[in-house]
């Protein structure tokens, strides 16, 4: 139970979403190629893609095995695109976009979807904002209408802004302040980055949001919520041609954006010195968070670090789990996740100490495993195990229509190639055992990391309490 709670707490820190998460289930259905697709690809997951004259990129995946459809829109705007002093805008917009439009009254957006038997949600990362509706497939047109209203003329007024400010405050309290270790993500980011806008998390700062004027929100909308900055990705029980018609009907009239889109070109200087710090939180068990700078997603070393992640933390037999949780019983839980971002991200390791283990001891145990990877080549058997796990995960990722729509949009947005949904595994397979040792030595160094201890508030020295803050 605790393990689950913690996992949820941690995963929620990465994506900030407007409502509850939908449960993940697996699905399978036979693909049926469309005879009229304008572009066809090889591989298990077939799709069609094209641009509207206004710049909206469309990706369609037809799978008629279950009568449902996922209508999704990914906007290429995340917290990275926020100007300093206006952090939290991208995530705030995700909330604002449920307030309604010129034709959809306040509060009706969610009710309309739910009343149609559909589900909806959205989330915001450092790089993009993602909206989706999953509907019975005969409501495809409704989903397109709703998303087009959002893109064409969403309602941005004082009432909505004030309402959502309160909701975001509650969200912040619930997920960040009231969750054990919940603040780790912003705490890690602000120490890991000195100049890059990744230094603030999508939740941003309430002060910035309070200070913002209504015109700034309208300008943000005009700059980023434009068809030429979005991907409409649809997967499920559709007919490609009919869907194209409907997309034309609802999206063609949306004008192309006229403002230049702000994409900061900031290079974070190389880290020369380890950053260490302590956060005192409402927790009982100490937590150790390490974050190593790593290259941007899609680079060869990024793939090597991903393979290393599986070796260290995927499955009961993974090194951190077997050694530190099972054998030494120093941790209740260990995990590793590479924070894959458009610009260089972070390779984050997490350990939650067992009762009676000091943070220092746990960190030493984690470091020992890192040192082992740096010194010893992985055995053939273990390397094969890791490759097998990666292959299995890669395949399972595309079980649901909503997941396929999101993955297609991601690959297109970040790599310019939606077909990586079928081929990205090859990039993982290029990684060698030597690469693992090499990237461990290159990136998992003391100078290249932030180490953050989470300790119970009761251990906080008195004076530190006053100087703490954002």
């Amino acid at each position: 139970m605790r393990k689950l709670v913690l996992c949820v707490a941690l995963s929620q820190c990465l994506l900030w979403s407007a409502g509850a998460q939908t449960p993940k289930t697996t699905s399978k259905a036979a693909p049926r190629p469309s005879a009229t697709a304008s572009s066809q690809t090889q591989g298990r997951i077939k799709f069609t893609e094209y641009d509207l004259p206004n710049g909206l990129h469309v990706i369609l995946h037809q799978d008629n095995s279950t009568p449902l459809v996922a209508v999704t829109v990914m906007y290429h705007v995340g917290s990275k695109n926020e100007k300093p002093g206006r952090s939290g805008f991208a995530h705030f917009f995700e909330h604002l976009m449920f307030e309604g439009s010129e034709n959809i009254k306040r509060g009706q957006y969610m009710k309309t979807v739910e009343g149609a038997g559909g589900q909806l949600n959205a989330n915001t990362s450092n790089d993009r904002t993602f909206y989706y509706e999953v509907m019975p497939s005969n409501k495809l047109e409704l989903g397109l209408y709703l998303e087009s209203e959002r893109m064409l003329h969403a309602k941005i007024d004082e009432t909505g802004v004030n309402t959502q400010r309160e909701v975001v405050k509650e969200e912040r309290r619930q997920r960040y302040e009231n969750q054990p270790y919940g603040s780790f993500f912003p705490e890690v980011l602000k120490r890991a980055y000195k100049v890059h806008p990744y230094k603030w998390a999508p939740i941003g700062s309430m002060e910035d949001l309070n200070a913002a004027k209504i015109e700034e929100f309208r300008d943000f909308y005009k700059e980023f919520y434009v068809p030429n900055n979005a991907i409409l990705s649809i997967a499920g029980d559709i007919n490609i041609e009919q869907t194209r018609q409907l997309i034309e009907k609802y999206f063609a009239e949306i004008p192309k954006g006229t403002k230049p889109i702000y994409r900061p070109n900031v290079k974070e200087p190389e880290s020369k010195q380890e950053v260490r710090d302590v956060v005192y939180d409402n927790i009982t068990l100490p937590g150790v968070f390490q974050a190593y700078h790593m290259p941007a997603q899609g680079t060869p070393d990024y793939y090597a670090l991903n393979v290393l992640t599986t070796l260290l933390a995927d499955g009961e037999s993974s090194r951190l789990n077997k050694e530190i949780v099972d054998k030494q019983q120093k941790a209740l839980q260990t995990s590793v996740f590479p924070l894959a971002l458009e610009d260089p991200g972070l390779f984050i390791t997490i350990g939650i100490a067992n009762m009676g283990t000091k943070a220092e001891e746990l960190e030493a145990a984690i470091n020992a495993e890192m040192e082992r990877v740096k010194k010893e080549l992985v055995s053939d058997r273990e390397f094969q195990k890791v490759k097998n796990q990666i292959e299995s995960d890669f395949v399972t990722r595309n079980a649901r229509a909503a997941g396929i729509a999101e993955n297609l949009a991601n690959y297109r947005m970040y790599f310019g190639d939606a077909n990586l949904i079928n081929t990205e595994l090859e990039r993982y397979n290029k990684v060698t055992k030597e690469d693992l040792r090499r990237v461990a030595n290159k990136y998992l160094t003391k100078e290249n990391r932030v180490v953050l201890y989470y300790l119970p508030k009761s251990m906080e020295p008195k004076k530190a309490a006053e100087s703490k803050g954002e």
């Binding site: 449902l68 019975p136 993974s318 292959e391």
Partner: protein
């Protein structure tokens, strides 16, 4: 615009190139109409039965190159009795070793093929890529057919279970659910009994083995094979790996059928420290899976309390702001189903929230739902049904449930049709059949002293403890007996533990206590020295985890080698209740003691003495009115959600050097309930001042 879509391919393609200027202006003020409802074709799984009785269902679905095997054992619920908890432990034990594989080997082998393998008391789930199917089945069959239960793994699991039980005691939702079950089904029913530390401690390897040998039998099993596999392939593999599995007679116990109470009762679990009340209105419901009423009663429940647009949510949260969420459920079950409606509300509105819950239960019986409500709920049902089909496992589950409960073969194929048919009159009938507000249990876990009286208007109030045992009503705080005052109560206590003279001779006391936290043994040594010095050291796993020293004015708190020093009011809050016998010095410390009345503590009358100081420090002691001994102390401490009241109970008083000391101390620590047992008490060891010095 609809016809526009039906144009020929050529026209359609051209239309895509046309700019908006040519298109007819879209009327965006209207919601688009729905396309015709999709026809749902529910695949029929292939099925066959092995000679040993194992029924197998195969759903071929080649979308992903994966195969999943889900084994379900279908037996009547087991009454576990004095070893409650053993069934769940046995289910977990399965994955911890076979005759030829250790736990490490199983873990490695599962990961080597990137697979999932999990076990439970009712079966095993295993999934992997298609190409690893043979290795996967090899592992699954080994775990299923050749388990090797070991004492070491059993001990690990018992400890985990005991920790979980301990944490449950401070979780009001868990208490509400446990107590609801105990009152609805009775503790002598598989759904009403609960595992406790005591019952888990009794579980032996033999219990787990007997359970496995009795219930892990193919003749009560359903195996769903789902994924990229043909029925022929599945048959070959299943025969190869599961034919050796031996049949066995599986007991079919019968149980008495629980009934709704004759009249509505309030079941109150008193938690003096509660800030919120958890309310659960429950009653048994005679509703079998797939019964003719199942679909319509389920719609009825969702109109009442299914989600964020249902009546309970709209009333208790949106309209009145009593709660973050309110909902209801109506579950079918082969033995006995259950209706439940509930919410967690702040203490002050407990009775108002119960009143609104009951109003909604009456309203759904007394009138038909609106057309809009019924339509919306039907749409949500259709949506959920469709979404569930995206997972091919659902199709296998439907087939298994159809076989298990003897449903008509087309039950799930006709599901949506039957949802659509339900009328508003039927919704009302279902409410009248399954919800009777005059015959329910209203279970409330909350602060009894503030809510008990106000709940009486809904029915007789009965008290239960957190384990679901009926207890006596705590006599509501009575006025202090005439002629009695706080000092007399304190004097009586002092006399009861040994008398002023004996206590005056005590200069120092060293108490060694032991406890267990999440399976870890911990030792605590508490030293006190006259007049007001004290220290406490907690050791776990050979390490000093916590060290608290009070030199009489300042308090230093160290945890894992880091800490801080309290001064002023914060320190006094601690020093006033520490020292050898702080009760002897209340007056000289400027503490005012008031006798606030008599309350029940653990079912016995106790005098309640409230202490206050000018600085606003306050705490409460309870002294047994008969023996005079202190039975409980409640202090206020800062917690994650603001201040919380921490009750500490004292019992098992025994004499050491002519003075009676409590030998069992119970305390809540965050989500845990700790029981500390005294190992040793040493009096006048000759402790030195230096031991209580605070070094910065």
């Amino acid at each position: 615009m609809k016809a526009y879509i039906k144009h020929t391919f050529l026209t359609a393609s051209l239309a895509a190139l046309v700019t908006t200027g040519f298109a007819q202006k879209l009327d965006r003020t209207k919601l688009p109409a729905d396309a015709p409802a999709p026809v749902i074709q529910l695949a029929n799984p292939e099925s066959f039965t092995l000679a040993n009785g194992l029924r197998v269902f195969v759903v071929q679905n080649n979308k992903l190159p994966r195969v999943a095997f889900n084994l379900l054992l279908d037996y009547e619920p087991i009454l576990e009795g004095e070893k409650a908890g053993y069934v769940s432990i046995a289910g977990d034990l399965l994955k911890t070793g076979t005759k030829t594989r250790t736990k490490d080997q199983i873990d490695e082998a599962v990961d080597f093929i990137g697979a999932t393998l999990s076990t439970s008391p009712t079966g095993i789930y295993a999934a992997s890529l298609k190409k690893h199917t043979n290795q996967l089945l090899e592992l699954m069959a080994d775990v299923l057919l050749n388990p090797n239960f070991t004492q070491a793994e059993l001990d690990k699991l018992k400890k985990q279970n005991i920790s979980a039980i301990a944490s449950r005691k401070d979780n009001p939702n868990a208490i509400a659910s446990l107590v609801s079950n105990a009152v609805m089904y009775g503790k002598n029913h598989p759904y009403g009994e609960t595992a406790t530390e005591e019952t888990v401690n009794k579980v032996t390897l033999e219990d787990a083995r007997t359970f496995y040998n009795t219930y892990f039998r193919p003749n009560i099993g359903y195996l769903a094979v789902v994924g990229d596999i043909t029925p022929a392939e599945a048959r070959t593999l299943v025969e190869k790996y599961f034919s050796k599995w031996q049949r066995g007679d599986v007991p079919k116990p019968t149980y008495t059928m629980p009934k709704a109470p004759e009249k509505t009762k309030i079941v109150l679990v008193d938690r003096p420290s509660a800030a919120q009340s958890v309310i659960a209105v429950v009653s048994p419901a005679e509703l079998k899976p797939g019964a003719p009423d199942a679909i319509r009663s389920s719609l009825m429940n969702d109109i009442l309390g299914g989600g964020a647009t249902a009546r309970l949510f709209m009333n208790l949260r949106e309209k009145r702001g009593y709660t973050y969420g309110a909902n209801s459920s109506l579950t079918s079950d082969r033995l006995i189903g259950r209706f439940r409606a509930g919410a967690s509300v702040r203490t002050a509105v407990t009775d108002s929230a119960v009143a609104e819950l009951m109003n909604e239960l009456r309203a759904i019986r007394e009138g038909k739902p609106s057309e809009e409500e019924l339509k919306r709920t039907k749409n949500i049902f259709s949506g959920n049904y469709v979404f569930s089909l995206e997972n091919p496992q659902t199709i296998a589950n439907y087939a298994i449930r159809t076989a298990q409960y003897g449903l008509p073969a087309d039950y799930y194929a006709n599901y949506l049709k039957n949802v659509e048919k339900v009328t508003d009159a039927e919704i009302q009938q279902m409410a009248q059949k399954f919800i009777d507000p005059s015959r329910v249990y209203i279970v409330v876990v909350g602060k009894g002293s503030e809510i008990a009286d106000k709940l009486k208007r809904f029915g007789d109030v009965e008290y239960y403890d957190t384990q679901g045992n009926k207890v006596n009503a705590p006599a509501p705080a009575k006025a202090a007996p005439v002629g009695m005052n706080a000092q007399q109560v304190i004097d009586k206590y002092i006399a009861a533990i040994g008398g002023k003279e004996a206590l005056a001779k005590v200069n120092d006391i060293t108490v060694t206590l032991t406890t267990e936290v999440q399976g870890q043994a911990m030792e605590m040594v508490r030293k006190t020295m006259s007049p007001n010095k004290s220290s406490m050291v907690v050791n776990a796993m050979g390490m000093e985890v916590v060290k608290i020293i009070s030199d009489g004015t300042k308090v230093s708190m160290m945890q894992m080698g880091q800490g801080r020093t309290l001064e002023g009011k914060e320190a006094r809050q601690i020093t006033l209740t520490s020292g050898t016998f702080p009760e002897l010095r209340m007056a000289q410390n400027g503490v005012k003691a008031t006798l606030a009345g008599t309350e029940k503590v653990n079912g016995k009358d106790a005098y309640k003495v409230v202490y206050t100081t000018d600085e606003g420090i306050t705490w409460t002691d309870f002294f047994d009115s008969e023996s005079g001994l202190r039975v409980q102390q409640i202090t206020t401490q800062p917690g994650p959600q603001g201040e919380m009241q921490v009750p500490v109970s004292f019992s098992d008083y025994k004499e050491v050097n002519g003075i009676r000391f409590p030998h069992t101390i119970q305390q809540s620590m965050g989500p845990m309930q700790l029981t500390l047992n005294v190992k040793k008490i040493e009096v006048n060891k000759g402790l030195k001042d230096a031991e209580f010095e605070i070094r910065q």
